[in-house]
């Protein structure tokens, strides 16, 4: 089985290749068969691999397919490395990916570029698998950029709309900024270790650097640069909301479940470096905390259903970063998995709603869908409950509560982080249920045209079940000693040290978290369902209005970047369009012409003038040679 690892990413690539080459000629029904089928087989392979992995107790599988290039001892390979961490990621990618492919088979059925869509999606799944399977950082970088490309292609999928093209370009360029930092990090790592093999670096790093060494901090920060770009964290978060221009399955797969969590994967994968660089780890935690708050408040004010979800994704990844920052590695990965389930579910549900309402994105033009689309409503509700971390019954509660708790009690935890996370949780439950109430309750405002069919409902239901039950594999310590997930990751990721003094009163914090989530839901209920005039009253005050505008614009980051980077650059480029340096050369040419016209005047045609010139020249030569 471990010899077939290469097939897991290869199959989606093969699917993409087939679709690119023959997609326009093959019968339409074949397109989703190839597209979803290849990912499906991959996910089956992953499950078999997982079963074997769990049963034979090996620490890792490594498969070396071929040497990519080899120069003077530096030889990154096309080689795959599977351990417990990777297993989680490839499971989520292939399995959730497969479900989303199934969903898209119906969702995109009307689109003219059916095969292009599936080709890009397959290419994405392949690249994402390469990213997480790579055993060296160069190959990881390949996957990293590959998913960036696919994200670009899929955001700009409906390319006829210029805005989509801009959004796609923005996403690619902003993530590229982060990638650049990461690339520099790779150069630095190579300089110290002479290799970019992840495992070798992880074993050598503690011997080379002491804890808190400046180089280690620098490397870690550069890697964080890459991670914040890909995972849409502060300060590179602005691309993700615009990325919602892509079709909903794309948002579900790329911009919620998998690609945006690549940053989480990268940091987890190289956790040794972060343990050597506590400063960098601190930075990660605070980036996470700041992002989750900023994105949460922004989500409160959005009208576009998908933008709410986009900001909530940013916010949730902020939680993961916070967890990474405090050293709660497995908690971050756990939240990643649960988040993948419920956020994919929410996006797919949103997609179904949007499709039903003629591609209407504005929540305030929706409403009353509860009765009309029961399956979508209930699954969406389950997803929302998970997102808002409704206590006990939702998976989101278990994963988020763990982060909240460890944010306070973990080794690097602090009260500030805890309060930020708690405030975030409160805001999360408000905006989540604001979204639910506005979209599904109230009266119907737009006519429903298209009801989701079987292939769209199936993934919703499966994901809803996972969003409910996924949390029970990892329970809080004081419930029962049932920590399947942490135990499973123990060989790869160290277990976090918990402040023993606080451990006895953990139940207090759990109750606080539960109350916060429930009160958030109640406030949403109060403002948007029970007494809508409250919200309207609030909007009238001047302060609230400007605050609303500020939050609505995503805290002004877009405007800031436009003013500081984009516009000066474009201005500089436009101003120098005809290339200033060329003026020098044209000037030279004109100068030569001018000299020419000057010297032409000496050509009088008078013999005696010429002779005079010869004489003067002779005198000059003789004089000079006499003087020297």
């Amino acid at each position: 089985m471990e010899n077939l690892i290469w097939l897991i990413p290869a199959l989606p690539f093969l699917g993409a290749l087939l679709l690119i080459l023959f997609g326009l000629k093959m019968p339409r029904i074949m397109v989703p068969v190839i597209g979803a089928g290849s990912v499906g087989i991959s996910s089956l392979l992953t499950i078999f691999l997982g079963i074997q992995f769990l049963s034979d107790g090996a620490a890792m599988y490594v498969q070396h397919v071929w040497t990519w290039f080899s120069i003077g001892g530096f030889s990154p390979g096309i080689a795959f490395h599977v351990d417990a961490l990777t297993m989680v990621f490839i499971f989520v990618i292939t399995f959730v990916g497969f479900l989303i492919h199934l969903y898209s088979a119906e969702f995109m059925a009307e689109d003219a570029d059916y095969s292009r869509f599936f080709a890009s999606m397959n290419l994405f799944v392949g690249s994402m698998l390469v990213l997480v399977l790579a055993d060296n950082l160069v190959l990881l970088y390949l996957g990293w950029e590959g998913v960036g490309l696919c994200s670009f292609l899929l955001i700009g999928f409906w390319y006829r709309e210029p805005a989509n093209g801009y959004a796609a370009r923005k996403a690619f360029i902003i993530t590229r900024v982060g990638d650049t930092a990461m690339a520099i990090g790779l150069f630095l790592l190579f300089q110290y270790f002479g290799t970019l093999n992840i495992q070798e670096i992880l074993t050598q790093a503690p011997q080379t650097w002491s804890v808190g060494s400046q180089t280690a901090v620098l490397v870690a920060l550069l890697l964080v640069g890459g991670a914040v770009g890909k995972s849409a964290q502060l300060p590179l978060q602005t691309w993700l909301p615009d990325a919602m221009a892509g079709p909903s399955p794309v948002s579900a797969l790329i911009h919620a479940a998998t690609m945006v969590t690549a940053g989480v994967y990268l940091i987890t994968r190289t956790y040794v470096l972060f343990e050597l660089a506590p400063t960098a780890q601190m930075v990660v935690a605070f980036i996470g905390a700041a992002t989750l708050l900023i994105a949460g408040f922004t989500a409160l004010t959005q009208n576009d259903l998908k933008r709410v979800l986009a900001y909530s994704t940013i916010s949730q990844i902020g939680y993961m970063f916070l967890a990474l920052g405090v050293g709660a590695w497995s908690a971050a990965v756990f939240h990643f998995m649960i988040h993948a389930f419920f956020k994919a579910l929410l996006f797919l549900g949103a997609g179904a709603v949007i499709m039903a309402l003629h591609h209407e994105h504005d929540m305030f033009k929706m409403g009353g869908l509860r009765k009309k689309m029961p399956v979508v409503f209930w699954t969406f509700l389950i997803g929302s409950a998970s997102l808002a971390a409704v206590p006990l019954i939702s998976a989101g509660f278990y994963s988020k509560d763990q982060i909240l708790w460890l944010g306070l009690a973990g080794g690097n935890g602090s009260v500030i982080l805890y309060i930020a996370a708690l405030l975030g949780a409160f805001v999360t439950s408000i905006y989540t249920f604001r979204m639910v109430f506005i979209t599904f309750y109230g009266e119907e405002k737009t006519h429903i045209s298209h009801m989701p069919g079987f292939w769209m409902k199936l993934p919703l239901v499966v994901l809803a079940i996972l969003s409910l039950l996924g949390g029970f594999i990892e329970l809080p310590h004081n419930f029962a000693h049932f920590t399947l997930f942490t135990d499973y990751l123990k060989p790869v990721l160290p277990v976090i040290v918990i402040d023993e003094g606080l451990a006895t009163i953990e139940w207090i914090f759990q109750i606080v978290a539960a109350l916060v989530a429930l009160s958030g839901i109640y406030i949403a209920y109060l403002f948007y369902l029970k007494k809508p005039y409250l919200a309207q009253n609030m909007e009238r005050s001047k302060f609230a209005m400007s605050l609303h505008r500020f939050w609505y614009s995503g805290w002004g980051f877009d405007a800031l970047y436009n003013a500081v980077f984009v516009r000066p650059y474009v201005y500089l480029s436009k101003a120098n369009r005809s290339d200033g340096i060329d003026f020098f050369y044209t000037g030279l040419a004109y100068f030569t012409q001018w000299l020419n016209s000057l010297f032409t005047r000496t050509q009088t045609g008078m013999l005696r003038t010429y002779m005079m010139g010869v004489l003067v020249g002779a005198i000059l030569v003789v004089t000079i040679s006499l003087l020297l």
């Binding site: 009088t604 045609g605 008078m606 013999l607 005696r608 002779m611 005079m612 004489l615």
Partner: protein, 102 residues
């Protein structure tokens, strides 16, 4: 062996050369210009001969013979050109032939 110093010979050559040059620049008549060129060539030949005598080598005289030949050829071609020029322009004014238009 005689007592004439090289300086004296070269001085004579220089004076003749300068006079030829002056004539060349002063006159507008093209025949006078040709004559002045002859004077200059002659002066150059004189300088060669003086130098040859100084070192007791025949080379100076050889050079004079070459200059002589050259002067002869030059004069014949030059005069032919003057004839044509006069035929065309009806004047011997060198400034009249200042346009080079083919």
């Amino acid at each position: 062996m005689n007592g004439i110093s090289m300086e004296a010979g070269l001085l004579l050559a220089a004076i003749l050369f300068a006079l030829g040059l002056m004539g060349l620049l002063m006159r507008r008549n093209i025949i006078f210009m040709l004559v002045s060129v002859e004077i200059m060539l002659n002066a150059a030949g004189l300088a060669f001969i003086v130098a040859g005598m100084r070192w007791a080598q025949p080379d100076g005289q050889v050079m004079f013979i070459f200059i002589l030949t050259m002067a002869a050829a030059e004069v014949s071609v030059g005069l032919a050109l003057i004839l044509q020029l006069y035929h065309q322009l009806k004047t011997l004014d060198s400034d009249a032939a200042s346009r080079m238009r083919g």
